[in-house]
């Protein structure tokens, strides 16, 4: 209960211990992953054989460190490319959506808004298979009638980008709309009144105001894309992104190089998180 309500010490202690255990539960798996990336052993498990950075830097047949593992590095690059595209597209759509929903009144707005939210409640696997079947259907039709094989409609990077974009843009729209809602329409009217054209207003008033939300949602979109598994699994072609590569290796039996990649991912995400928090504060 709130501090101003008296309660027994035992209760307070138990409560504090509970919250402590919760955070232990929250952090334990992550810490374990990072620690075992430094274990001088062929398996990410006990016993502890001593400290090593081999799983990052070594280049033997038996122990190939992360920075010499071509397949892993390649899939990281693939993931990066996908994530950059998804973040750019998602933020662009989110800005137009926010302007549409916050600055215009039109028939069917509520209905359209609900449709826009829909991707949040469609499981990722289903989103993936529906897009896959739809695009393959189109590709097959075109191939049958014109003999044209449209590569980008087959599983591969473009489809992954589209599939992730479908739900990540909804998230970005929510974030950017919330920010735009806090901009008094007076500001935009004042700019118009002072002689600005509509484009001027967007460029000099609206966009600068949205900047923190744009950067914040771009970072989150980037991460969501980078980490996405369900939709990506269905739509992936021959170039597999990092999550898919990791998944395959995990099922084959893991070596501590996976811990090394994971640790690197955590560090990267952490840095991004700090940057976006810093920008949002400013």
């Amino acid at each position: 209960m709130i501090p101003s309500i008296p309660q027994s010490r035992a209760f307070q202690k138990t409560y504090a211990v509970y919250v402590g255990l919760f955070f232990l539960f929250l952090l334990a798996p992550l810490v374990v992953v990072a620690v075992f990336s430094l274990n001088d052993s062929l398996f990410p498990s006990l016993p502890w054989e001593g400290f090593t950075l081999d799983w990052y830097f070594a280049d033997d047949r038996e122990r190939r460190g992360l920075f010499h593992d071509g397949a892993l590095l390649e899939s990281i690059v693939t993931s990066l490319v996908i994530a950059v595209f998804v973040a750019l597209l998602a933020v662009a759509l989110a800005i137009t959506n926010a302007l549409l929903f916050e600055r215009y009144h039109f028939k069917g707005k509520q209905f359209l808004y609900s449709l826009m939210l829909l991707p949040l409640v469609i499981p990722g696997v289903i989103l993936g298979i529906s897009i896959l079947s739809f695009s393959s259907g189109i590709a097959n039709t075109i191939e049958d009638s014109y003999g044209l094989d449209l590569e980008f409609l087959r599983p591969g990077l473009p489809l992954i980008v589209l599939g992730q974009f479908a739900f990540i843009s909804t998230m970005a729209t929510l974030v950017i709309s919330a920010r735009l809602r806090k901009l008094d329409t007076e500001m935009e009217e004042a700019a118009l009144n002072l002689g600005a054209s509509r484009l001027d207003v967007f460029r000099t008033i609206t966009l600068p105001w949205l900047k923190p939300a744009v950067i914040g949602s771009a970072v989150v979109a980037f991460l969501m894309s980078f980490e996405n598994f369900n939709t990506t699994l269905i739509l992936a072609g021959s170039d597999s992104p990092l999550t898919i590569t990791l998944f395959d290796r995990m099922r084959e039996g893991s070596t501590p190089v996976l811990n090394a990649v994971s640790t690197l991912l955590m560090l990267g995400s952490g840095m991004l998180a700090l940057i976006s928090i810093f920008i949002q504060r400013k």
């Binding site: 500001m187 700019a191 009144n193 002072l194 002689g195």
Partner: protein
């Protein structure tokens, strides 16, 4: 003669709601014109049509003799000070004031000079590099006005910009706004629901209700000669007594109140007839208050002090007529004479027959 601003039969409707109903007005150059009315009376709609944020359904708006129909807000020679000022938080003061100049492609050097000049004129020199949140409420107010005046508009529109300020600052800003208007000589159109703001600053005030102007005139004429019951009730304070016209003798009417008292009043035109239901208005500050009960006056009541609402210079007394139990609010003169007045005391009230106003009772638009 061309006016700075002219409206000819302007109307605006939202669905079934008639927001602005056939308004015409003419505002001469260099005047301070206020539109006073309760919220929802249509004054904001009118102002937004002047600024170009919406177009009238009927009628036309002319600025300096030029028709404004179809001209978008960013091309009109009017500027507006918004209710919440709308100073751009992502720019400093200098950039805020230069914003309109920059949109008009004024070269940088000239821009800087104009900004410095206008800041000088509003008594805030050299604050170009401060950010908006570093300013006090009153300073923001002045900067918002300067941001418009630097563009030398034909007309400056002000949308209740004092609403957000606390009472003391508001009093101060009223005087300051009036001074700024005189110094710049620009035509100001000021909308507000606060009658004191309108009265103190304006040359002319239009009282607006249900989309129409009830009366347009100087603050004095609105106060002393309200044309309608609405104006009488909205401008200043008033006691309202309901009654019937008993008889008319020349320019004097004798009213019998529903509570049974008899009052005499002058009335402006031949608008009354015997037996008519009327409302009689008497301002609290127009009533003499005496401790001596033996006064003879044309309108006279002996009453008991019900309670004293002490508020310094604005103190009032609630008095109940001993005969009819009609209640009246009376201003308490701060002349020492009544400092020891207590509830329960008997006093006498009287007023001049020219100090009351009478209006037909079937006027539906009362505040």
């Amino acid at each position: 003669m061309t006016f700075d601003l002219e409206c000819r039969n302007v109307s605006k409707q939202f669905g079934d709601f008639q927001a602005v109903n056939d308004i015409s007005l003419e505002i001469p150059a260099g005047s301070f014109f206020s539109i006073l009315g309760p919220s929802g009376c249509g004054k904001t709609t009118l102002l937004r049509m002047l600024a170009g944020f919406s177009e009238p359904d009927q009628g036309e708006i002319l600025i300096k003799g030029k028709k404004m129909a179809g001209i978008p807000p960013n091309k009109r020679p009017v500027n507006m000070v918004f209710q919440h000022l709308a100073l751009f938080p992502m720019m400093n003061i200098g950039e805020n004031i230069a914003y309109g100049l920059k949109r008009n492609k004024v070269p940088k050097q000239e821009r800087d000079k104009k900004v410095a000049d206008v800041l000088e004129r509003i008594d805030l020199p050299g604050i170009e590099n401060k950010s908006v949140h570093q300013l006090s409420g009153g300073q923001k107010q002045r900067v918002a006005i300067a941001r418009c005046l630097v563009l030398e508009p034909d007309v400056l529109l002000l949308d209740e910009p004092l609403g957000a300020l606390d009472l003391k600052l508001r009093e101060q800003m009223k005087v300051e706004l009036k001074k700024l208007q005189q110094a710049f000589g620009t035509t100001f159109i000021y909308i507000t629901h606060d009658q004191s703001e309108a009265m103190v600053m304006s040359d002319q005030v239009a009282v607006m209700n249900h989309g129409r102007f009830e009366q347009v005139g100087s603050p004095q004429s609105l106060y002393y000669q309200p044309n309608t019951a609405f104006v009488a009730g909205f401008v200043g304070n008033n006691n309202r007594i309901e009654g019937v016209v008993e008889s008319i003798v020349g320019e004097t009417a004798i009213i019998r109140s529903d509570a049974g008292q008899q009052f005499k009043t002058t009335f402006p035109e031949a608008t009354l007839h015997s037996g008519q239901q009327v409302h009689l208005y008497i301002r609290p500050e127009a009533i003499h208050i005496r401790r001596d009960q033996n006064v003879t006056s044309e309108n006279h009541i002996n009453g008991r002090v019900e309670s004293i609402l002490f508020d310094g210079g604005n103190s009032q007394v609630l008095v109940k007529d001993t005969e009819s139990s009609q209640e009246l609010t009376v201003s308490l003169p701060q002349t020492r004479e009544f400092n020891d007045l207590t509830a329960g005391e008997m006093i006498s009230l009287s007023w001049d027959i020219r100090q009351s106003n009478v209006f037909s009772a079937n006027n539906k638009s009362e505040p």
